[in-house]
């Protein structure tokens, strides 16, 4: 456990835990509303913010947050009001965001290619104290929303029209989900990188739901998987020279494969348990089936 003495590693582990908690906590709502790839889109847009941060010599994390929030609100408005061309508008936003980021990075004197790579794929060794403060504050906001409003967010993702008829402020809550997703992207950016952020939002949720039946348990299991893989990935980078983002995502996918393999035997065991609980009676088809009425047979032709 010598890595715990390293201040460098302490920062990295703290950031990793926060990412492991927040990414699946937001991801579950995106998966539920079938917007699993929204995190990817926000990641593209956030790169413009990183580029702006370098160009204006401000903290890229805060600038990326600002631009990602604006981008995610635009995406939500396109989803809510957009008609048939909505997907084209989203494509423009994604690719524009990515191209803009690369361009701005190049224009700024300080933004080197190495810097670009560290934001695209994550780089624990460059996480500063200032970054850790930003990550903590943003993660606090994300947890407040995803845990505090989980019933409301569940309702609007499950059935938006029904949620409106219960009088919930659906439009505001939809925007809040978008903003929270944007904030999560920038929280996770330093650890897994903008290109792999979405994986950490989606893969733990996909893995968890292989073995769960309820939203609440899926939430808890997904967060547990998120924390486990981000911690394991971070510790791995201490001993091996491997990129953290890729390591974490590959671990998450390994968990997904494992849970998928477990799903069938688990379902079988559950149904056996249900049968046992129902007792010997009631599970067999011992109910008398009334004899089917035979045709009268005297139908005149």
């Amino acid at each position: 456990m010598e890595f715990l003495q390293d201040p460098f590693m302490q920062r990295a582990l703290l950031a990793a835990v926060l990412v492991g908690v927040t990414a699946p906590a937001v991801g579950i709502h995106l998966v539920q509303r079938r917007q699993a790839l929204m995190g990817d889109g926000i990641g593209h847009v956030a790169l413009t913010g990183v580029g702006l941060g370098f160009l204006l010599s401000t903290n890229p994390v805060w600038m990326a947050t600002l631009v990602a929030v604006v981008g995610s609100v635009a995406m939500e408005l396109i989803r809510a009001y957009g008609r048939t061309r909505g997907d084209i508008a989203l494509a423009m936003l994604f690719y524009g965001g990515m191209a803009g980021g690369v361009m701005l990075m190049n224009l700024s004197g300080t933004g080197s290619n190495a810097n670009l790579t560290s934001y695209l794929f994550g780089s624990l060794s460059t996480v500063s104290d200032e970054d850790v403060v930003a990550i903590c504050l943003l993660a606090g906001f994300v947890l407040l929303v995803t845990v505090g409003l989980r019933r409301q967010l569940f309702a609007i993702s499950q059935d938006e029209e029904f949620a409106r008829v219960t009088g919930l402020p659906v439009r505001a809550l939809n925007l809040l989900v978008a903003v929270t997703a944007a904030v999560t992207v920038t929280v996770a950016m330093r650890v897994v990188g903008l290109l792999l952020v979405s994986a950490l939002m989606v893969v733990p949720v996909a893995a968890a739901q292989q073995v769960t039946r309820s939203f609440a348990v899926t939430f808890v299991v997904a967060v547990a998987i998120g924390v486990a893989v981000t911690l394991a990935g971070t510790v791995t980078t201490y001993y091996q020279d491997v990129p953290p983002g890729a390591t974490i995502v590959l671990l998450a996918i390994a968990v997904f494969v494992l849970f998928t393999a477990l799903a069938t035997p688990l379902a079988r065991r559950r149904s056996r348990a249900v049968e046992a609980a129902a007792g010997a009676a009631g599970t067999e088809c011992d109910v008398d089936v009334p004899a089917t009425r035979r045709p009268a047979g005297d139908a005149a032709v």
């Binding site: 699993a36 409003l149 569940f154 029209e161 029904f162 008829v165 009088g167 949720v205 769960t212 039946r213």
Partner: protein
């Protein structure tokens, strides 16, 4: 407090256009307190659009709607209304239990607050009312179509509403579930709940219904006693989801 005579639902000359096609062309609909009104008509006649306009989910291009005597635009007391949408096969991306789905119906009372002991009891009661108490911890995706429909009704009942609005609650529902639903509805009506429900035909709910409103091409063509079902439409278990051509004459007995 509104007066006793005030109708629970009042729709006056409602017009709605979906995609450039007029779907409601001046619909009048009044439902009094404690009344059970069936909205009938062929597929595509505008029944769903009519009930969705009552709850403010379809913008009207003309006419007006009021609920409990309050103009819809200013209506806020959503916990008085229970809505059961027309069931779709689309499920959400994450597993959810019967209890979790039904609990979301209670949000009209708790809104942004935390659920109380009373809220949890109401959710449990609603699940019992539709006969799914033994399935409340199961995933909704493991249920049959009829059981899923019962979940949607329990979700509407969780808020203990005074007005139930149901869109084709019997469509694609197996006979056992139909009987349970009819029983649930009977209890609600006996307790004084007002009901507006879209039906393809009256079926096992017939004895409960006070009045029927028949739509055809977005116009009310009958408003009065429920038409007696004729032919095979009266048979229980008859397939409810078969398509009707828009111009097929309504086989409601009273009208043709």
């Amino acid at each position: 407090m509104e007066s006793v005579a005030e109708p629970v639902i009042s729709v006056r000359g409602a017009r709605a256009t979906l995609g450039s096609r007029p779907v409601l062309r001046g619909v009048d609909l009044t439902v009094g307190r404690g009344e059970v009104v069936a909205l009938l008509g062929a597929n595509g006649s505008g029944k769903s659009t009519a009930v969705r306009s009552v709850i403010g989910q379809v913008p009207l291009t003309g006419g007006s709607v009021s609920l409990f005597g309050t103009e819809l635009r200013r209506f806020r007391a959503w916990s008085r209304v229970g809505y059961v949408p027309q069931r779709t096969t689309a499920t959400s991306g994450v597993p959810a239990t019967v209890r979790e789905v039904v609990a979301s119906g209670r949000l009209s009372r708790t809104r942004l607050g935390w659920p109380s002991r009373g809220d949890r009891a109401a959710v449990r009661r609603a699940i019992e009312l539709v006969g799914l108490a033994d399935r409340s911890r199961d995933s909704v995706s493991a249920l049959s179509g009829g059981q899923h429909q019962r979940v949607l009704i329990a979700r509407a009942l969780a808020a203990e509403p005074e007005l139930l609005i149901m869109d084709e609650p019997m469509a694609g529902v197996d006979l056992a579930s139909q009987e349970i639903l009819a029983g649930t509805l009977r209890e609600q009506v006996a307790a004084g709940t007002t009901v507006l429900l879209v039906l393809h035909e009256l079926g096992p709910l017939e004895p409960l219904i006070d009045r029927a409103v028949v739509l055809r091409d977005g116009c009310v063509v009958h408003d009065g006693p429920p038409p007696r079902a004729v032919g095979q439409h009266a048979l229980p278990g008859h397939d409810h989801v078969h398509p009707h051509a828009a111009d097929e004459p309504l086989r409601t007995g009273l009208l043709s």
